[in-house]
Amino acid sequence: MERSQDGGNLSGVQHIILVLSGKGGVGKSTISTEIALALRHAGKKVGILDVDLCGPSIPRMLNAQSKDVHQCDSGWVPVYVDQEKSISLMSIGFLLEHPDDAVVWRGPKKNALIKQFASDVAWGDLDFLIVDTPPGTSDEHIATVDALRPFNPMGALLVTTPQAVSVGDVRRELTFCKKTGLRVIGIVENMSGYVCPHCTECTNIFSKGGGEELARLSGVPFLGCVPLDPLLSQSLEQGKDFVQEFPNSAAYPAISSIARQILDMASPRS
């Protein structure tokens, strides 16, 4: 692992995007997964780093939960999701002996593993590295931002659901970004409205518009509303490629538009 000392393993990565939210369960892992798939379909090479140590969701969402990481000279070889090796993945989920083991770690141990994730994974050349984080503004977040800072991340994608309870937490996450000098790429409002499959009536189960309003008030780009879509939750349960299988579904246009905006923002830099 000679290269790991100088952090050379991330030097082949063009753009690093952190997916954050102060609130739990708003769809950080979902958005991370779908954006990765959409970027892949746009011909990009994508890596996903899952730093949610207590509740890693990405392996299941990409149907990779039974795979293992291996060691090589330059560190850990990430798990490849597809045969073309266009999506690679690193998660604590691959390091646990039993999938139901609870990772009961205090901060310092988490920080150490995150540092290792940042330095010891042999990503190779990537167009995008998406970093999925746990909810909050704590050890994992500070450690991740610190470890990635030398590689000049493109910024943070903030995910919220429309309700005030969630928007309140995301306001605090904006403060976190400001304090740590992390640029905010934009805000995504997820689970925004549900269209009944029986009568097409739209119900705002988790209210509507909170994310958009927050973006306006804080002067941050708003990237779009992703509606509640049972085809999306179903795809994630089974590790299916939603972007490929359901282009006519309710959530597809929003997801592809978010990916398109990210590509546009990234292009002048590359």
């Binding site: 969701s57 901060g107 746990p134 403060t175 549900y194 119900t203 209210s207």
Partner: protein, 320 residues
């Protein structure tokens, strides 16, 4: 072995041992520097002080979930409201989600402050018999972020458990952040002598959530925390127009019901998705008084009754 911390590796010699912090097992243990310094000999005196302070609290209930956003805070708030409808009961609600406190908003207490009294911090009262404490009351603006690492969070939790002046209380409900992390370890350790009646575990029906909740159940077993039962939240949605039900978060692996059977824990009930629940959380009102006869209210009531029965039947156990 009381002096082996929960986060210690398997062959920990014990924090009171002469080998503490120095044995081969200590390599890489997060406590190594504290143990090697010798200051850990003997348990934290706060644990006894907390027992003393909480001796006026009859029942302590922890609301947990490995998964984020499944409705822990919503359930905690409604459990508190539901129990407090009996005017003869004193209810206290403590929010230990330090990075994302939702309780002040859900209880309609945003902008409230705590006051220092002679014997500690005074909680904020929603009603005469319903007291609330949250880190949210200590923040000066809604944009304030609490960017704290573990040790600082643990200090805050210790203070919350030791220094809040609850008075005589029948039920203390503790809302936690998602996961199995510093906050959870601290609460369980600090209450190890005072005792906890048990944990209510919240999940949603889909496997993405259940896979985290299984971890949480293992955590409870590991720290010998009794499990009162599991609540499945956001379970199905009835369209208000055509009254047909749809599964937005599909129970692809059998939902909480199958998990409870597999792991031999009880299922306390299911709460459907109801837009009015979210609305009443945002406006800080009790859903029970807003929509008294909805299916969700009825389901909440059954669950609360089961929790009450459990607590009354069971003597508080010390699990240290």
């Amino acid at each position: 072995m009381a002096d082996v911390p929960i986060n210690a590796p398997q062959h920990c010699p014990g924090t009171g041992s002469t080998e503490a912090g120095k044995s081969s097992a200590c390599q890489g243990c997060p406590n190594q520097s504290i143990c090697a310094s010798g200051t850990m000999s003997g348990p934290d005196p706060a644990i006894e002080e907390i027992k003393e302070k909480l001796s006026s609290v009859k029942h302590k209930i922890l609301v947990l979930s490995g998964k984020g956003g499944v409705g822990k805070s919503t359930f905690s708030a409604h459990l508190a409201h539901g129990l407090a409808q009996d005017e003869s009961k004193e209810v206290a609600l403590l929010d230990v989600d330090i990075c994302g406190p939702s309780i002040p908003k859900m209880m309609g207490l945003e902008g409230e402050q705590v006051h220092q009294s002679g014997s500690g911090w005074s909680p904020v009262y929603v009603e005469d018999n319903l007291a609330v404490m949250s880190v949210g009351f200590l923040l000066s603006s809604p944009d304030d972020a609490v960017i704290w690492r573990g040790p600082k969070k643990n200090g805050m939790i210790k203070q919350f458990l030791r220094d809040v002046d609850w008075g005589e209380v029948d039920y203390l409900i503790i809302d936690t952040p998602p996961g199995t992390s510093d906050e959870h370890l601290s609460v369980v350790q600090y209450l190890s002598v005072a005792g906890i009646d048990g944990a209510v575990i919240i999940t949603t029906p889909q496997e993405v959530s259940l896979q985290d909740v299984r971890k949480e159940i293992n955590f409870c077993h590991k720290v010998k925390l009794p499990i009162i039962g599991v609540v499945e939240n956001m379970s199905g949605f009835i369209c208000p127009k055509c009254k047909n039900e749809s599964q937005i978060f599909p129970p692809t692996t059998g939902g909480a019901e199958k998990m409870c059977t597999d792991l031999n824990v009880s299922l306390l009930g299911k709460v459907p998705l109801d837009p009015n629940i979210g609305k009443s959380c945002d406006t800080g009102k009790s859903f029970f008084s807003e929509i008294p006869d909805s299916p969700a209210t009825l389901s909440y009531r059954t669950i609360i009754q089961r929790i009450q029965d459990y607590c009354e039947k069971k003597k508080v156990t010390c699990f240290s």
